[in-house]
Symmetry: C2
Subunit: 201 residues, 2 copies
Amino acid sequence: MGTVKTGLSMSLDGFIGGLGDQAWPVHELLLGWKFDLASFRERIGLEGGQSTIDSEIESEEYLHNGAYVMGRRMFDSGEVPWGDNPPFHAPVFVLTHHARATVLREGGTSFIFVTDGIESAIRQAKAVAQDKDVFISGGASGVQQALKAGLLDELQLHVVPVLLGEGVRLFEHLGTKPIELERVSLVEGTGVTHLRFRIIK
Amino acid sequence: MGTVKTGLSMSLDGFIGGLGDQAWPVHELLLGWKFDLASFRERIGLEGGQSTIDSEIESEEYLHNGAYVMGRRMFDSGEVPWGDNPPFHAPVFVLTHHARATVLREGGTSFIFVTDGIESAIRQAKAVAQDKDVFISGGASGVQQALKAGLLDELQLHVVPVLLGEGVRLFEHLGTKPIELERVSLVEGTGVTHLRFRIIK
């Protein structure tokens, strides 16, 4: 049985995205550490790039994923830029309130729309992933729902050394019952710090 | 010239304290990593304890401090438990709205009440610290004011692997201009992760 996990780039003050017209600049700021990595360039079809520890970490995050879960807004903003051959190469379960027919893409990616919540999405994703992992791609709300429902097994954060002051907070709406974690890995990247935790249940 | 710095234990979701009747349990949860360390026990007059990397980090945080700055609430909650010989052994500048005569204690600690804001408190603290450091003990508001005024040079976080869901957030009210940092140290403690940053100005 695989694990249910997520991996997100987060500012030191806890934001994983920007609001309004800050969405794109903050995206660049938080994900910038990936753009020149060999692993990232390879995934989007480019050659070259740096083969650092960051590249290993970035690559490893996708290696064992048999299915994905993501929020509807993430799907909406990605649908066009991802093109005909999106970088998932596996079924992606999209959390939405509106039923829609499955979208098939090249390279093994399909988008399946789930209207009955996070537990159903994760259950379906686990069924197709079999012994591989289910990766929750975000946004914040999907990760929060999975955490709150006790369905997340592992959490990786790529902490970017910046205080943004505002944006989309990763850790909100979690209720007031503390969730304990155990650090399973700590890697000093170039600028960014990679922290991986197991959620204790 | 010394630096202006702070060091705080923070939950992974960004809280450094609890609200209302959660204040004490959260204090124990976030500072628990210190309680059995040799350095911490020595500071409060006890023998024994563990001499780990955490103990070194904890001890180092106090070593070069020539003066402290703290918020009024922190002073109020500490005044009695700290007793006749508080653990500062240096002048402590307390941010308050109400003027009050300086309080002298044993062992070199004095509490000086500053009514004209963070800049004044840090300026006075620097003057007495000379080539030693000024340490901002908290709470969150004092650190936020120092960060926002561009007066903080270094920030150490002891990240505790727990998601609290609610409490006193460290990084709030910072405005919307990103503050860039540079990681200067990363140490894998027992459970806790020690991250030290320089603030880029």
